[in-house]
């Protein structure tokens, strides 16, 4: 089943500058993990923001799970797109505990459903016992896993990850890369992962695409 269908989108930050993304198309099927490679400034993070609805392209169309979220007449707000996103620096809410961060996107569920989902997520990312900690009390790797759990909890149709390893120490990176690959498979997630490092993409993604000048 087709999860993401991007057709000919163009985006520039202002009318005066050259478009960062020009006539770009991409199609992703269910369960695929796609790596997006490119140098900094090539527009790879912008691509994720366009899919999430945090920015708006000037032309083209985007469909998510068969539903148009952007076209000439349509703009669906980010909160209604069913897309999860793991931000580059995780953006964990500093005033909320691990538990409340993960529960954040689950307000539509009943209370017992929420607790079940929280348990599942904590187990998935192996952070049982950390519920009451605040983000600043966690290591970089743990923060990343909380961010992942938070994004996966509402069961998004598509997960976007922006440079998920850029904030981690080099020696940790390999282990965490492996773990992430396992978690994503377990959750059977369709995922786009953006990185500037070829190794990240090769370790996790079956398919890779290049954006920007290096194309």
């Amino acid at each position: 089943m087709n999860i993401l269908q991007i057709e000919n989108i163009t985006f520039s930050f202002s009318k005066k500058t050259k478009p960062v993304i020009n006539d770009f198309s991409l199609s992703i099927n269910s369960g695929e993990i796609v790596g997006v490679l490119g140098s900094s400034g090539s527009g790879k993070s912008t691509l994720l923001r366009l899919i999430a609805g945090l920015e708006m392209p000037t032309t083209g169309s985007i469909n998510i799970a068969g539903r148009p979220v952007f076209s000439e007449k349509v703009f669906i707000q980010p909160e209604n797109r069913g897309v999860g996103m793991v931000f580059q620096d995780y953006a964990l809410f500093p005033h909320l505990t691990v538990k409340d961060n993960i529960l954040f996107g689950l307000s539509k569920l009943t209370k017992s459903e929420r607790i079940t989902r929280l348990r599942e997520m904590l187990e998935l990312v192996q952070l049982e016992g950390f519920e009451k900690r605040y983000p600043h009390e966690l290591s970089g790797g743990q923060q990343q896993r909380v961010a992942l759990a938070r994004a996966l909890a509402p069961k998004p149709k598509l997960l976007l990850m922006d440079e998920p390893f850029s904030n981690l120490d080099a020696d940790l990176k390999e282990v965490i890369r492996e773990d992430l690959g396992i978690i994503l498979k377990k959750a059977n997630m369709t995922c786009i992962l953006v990185s500037h490092d070829k190794k990240d993409v090769e370790a996790i993604c079956k398919r890779k695409i290049m954006v920007g000048k290096s194309l």
């Binding site: 897309v83 931000f87 620096d89 953006a91 996107g105 509402p154």
Partner: protein
């Protein structure tokens, strides 16, 4: 853009948040538009008289006051900032923040304190006469003059320049200063050739604030009997009840303010320095011997004149009058002041929290919106007051049929006799104070948390309550204190817009002073000063937190 893409754009951005922002902007703009359009109305007889005989004098006085005060505040503010930033000398640690304190004394309070102290029966002349048998030339100490007003404005407003310039010098001038020294220049030459030009934006910014204060002043100038455009606005309203002429005067003052604004733009044109933001703080050099003595003396004189002497004098007067003043009616005064200031501040914060949130997404629209919302601060209180007055009287005229159908009489002045008018004026005038504080809060948290919340399925409003609000709490608090203090201090606006028989601390203080009951004015003055020191403390807290 075709209609469909415009619709799509609106769908992305539009929400209740925009609506509230637009209403906020309209609230600010409405009275200003009233003033603006009065330029084109047919003038009446009063106006011809004002124009023919008085206007030139008003304008001359205003220009002299603004010119001299801005030069002197710039001079004192910058020299002190440089001394404190670049040198170590005895007592410097205390002067560093002590030199901010004069800003806590509103100039009108300083004005009557100094005039009374220096009068024939005041403490200065009587001490000289009785202890030293020396009679001073009365003209020498005559504070009720242009000269005296310049002194008062300078000594109580120079902290604006000092407060902006000092952190700038301390944190951003290191590389340039050290390089210039390595190139073999002496400190004085470095100050003149490197530091002064580099800190020009900071100096001009601070001096501009003093210009706005002087232009909007009513307390000092009217107490000293100096006619300026602002005092003339009061006279035409209170003396002749001539709103049209007052509006016309206000529009003239508005032209002056816009002139100052454009002048500053012109000065800045083509001078965009890119300063290194990441810089080590400046290491101060130790002064010794006579140089250290001179530095300490200079700071001491300014601190004594700008804070300690007037405060000690006020305290001694307050001891004399404590029993007769500190009673029920004084508490009424305090609760009324608190009530107006708190209500105005809350309304301001609600509006600015919404507008600043809308303005986080950068666009030409949000830029314009933020400029409109903050424009009130550069508009003198008297102008805003006249604009609000004219607006409310017009509203009352429009609503007259409604009033009479409610059985309230034929053409009563309901709105323009109510406290709503004063609160409305405060909201416009001090929106910028709250806005700037809240904007800093939003800027510090960035957009990532908000965006994370949106991708987790929460809309703009729920995101605001669950994420944005808890994270800008600190900024909201400092915004509250700063705005609250400004409103407590404000005199011209309160004098013009308060309902009949409604007094605030500021208006009562001024009333006492005008009636030559100086001693009675001291307690409310001290209270205003104490409240103002609150905002000095908050400023210090913000600075310290930024350093960490």
């Amino acid at each position: 853009m075709n209609p469909d893409t415009i619709k799509r754009y609106i769908r992305k951005e539009f929400s209740g948040w925009w609506m509230i922002s637009m209403i906020g902007a309209a609230v600010v703009l409405l009275p200003v538009l009233f003033i603006f359009f009065s330029i084109f109305t047919e003038p009446n007889e009063n106006w011809y008289q004002i124009q023919q005989y008085l206007l030139r004098n008003y304008i001359t006085n205003s220009v002299i006051l603004v010119g001299l005060t801005s030069l002197l505040t710039a001079f004192i503010g910058v020299t002190l900032a440089w001394l404190i930033a670049a040198y170590d000398f005895p007592l410097k640690k205390y002067f560093r923040w002590g030199l901010i304190l004069p800003i806590a004394i509103p100039p009108y309070i300083g004005a009557y304190t100094y005039r009374t102290m220096l009068s024939y029966t005041g403490v200065v002349q009587s001490t000289l006469r009785n202890e030293f048998h020396y009679q001073v030339d009365p003209d020498f100490l005559a504070v009720s003059s242009l000269r005296g007003a310049v002194f008062i404005f300078t000594i109580f407003l120079f902290p604006y320049v000092y407060m902006i310039t000092r952190p700038f010098l301390e944190n951003q001038s290191t590389a340039y200063f050290e390089n210039a020294r390595l190139l073999g220049r002496k400190p004085l030459a470095i100050f003149l050739k490197v530091i002064l030009p580099l800190s020009r934006p900071a100096i001009v910014g601070g001096a501009l604030l003093t210009v706005y204060e002087v232009l909007s002043d009513y307390g000092v100038t009217s107490y000293f009997g100096i006619h300026t455009i602002a005092t003339a606005i009061f006279q035409t309203w209170f003396g002749m009840y001539d709103v049209d002429s007052a509006l016309k005067l206000a529009s003239w003052l508005m032209v002056a303010v816009i002139g100052v604004f454009l002048f500053e733009r012109l000065l800045r044109k083509g001078r965009h320095y890119h300063l290194s933001t990441k810089s080590r703080p400046l290491t101060p050099m130790k002064l010794t011997g006579i140089k250290a003595g001179i530095a300490t003396l200079y700071c001491s004189i300014i601190f004594l004149l700008g804070f300690l002497i007037p405060v000690v004098q006020l305290i001694s007067w307050s001891i004399l009058t404590f029993e007769s003043i500190w009673n029920d009616s004084f508490f009424t005064l305090m609760t009324q002041t608190l009530y107006v200031a708190t209500l105005s501040t809350i309304i301001i914060l609600v509006i600015v929290v919404v507008v600043a949130n809308v303005c986080r997404s950068q666009s030409a629209f949000s830029y314009t919106l933020s400029k409109i919302i903050t424009s009130g601060y550069s508009i003198p209180g008297a102008i805003i007051a006249i604009g609000v007055l004219a607006l409310f009287i017009t509203l009352d005229n429009w609503l007259a049929p409604v009033y009479s159908s409610m059985g309230l009489g034929k053409a009563p002045l309901i709105l323009s006799m109510s406290i709503a008018m004063l609160i409305f004026g405060n909201v416009i005038r001090f929106m910028a104070t709250g806005y700037n504080a809240v904007e800093v809060g939003y800027e510090k948290m960035g957009l990532k948390f908000t965006e994370a919340s949106r991708t987790l399925g929460l809309g703009k409003t729920r995101t605001f309550f669950k994420v944005d609000l808890p994270l800008i709490k600190g900024a909201l608090f400092s915004g509250f204190v700063l705005t609250f203090v400004e409103i407590c201090k404000e005199l011209p606006l309160a004098l013009l817009l308060r309902p009949f028989n409604f007094e605030t601390l500021a208006t009562k203080t001024f009333q006492y002073a005008k009636d030559e009951r100086i001693h009675e004015a001291s307690i409310s003055s001290l209270l205003i000063i104490a409240i103002s020191i609150l905002s000095v403390i908050v400023f210090q807290m913000i600075e310290r937190r930024e350093k960490q």
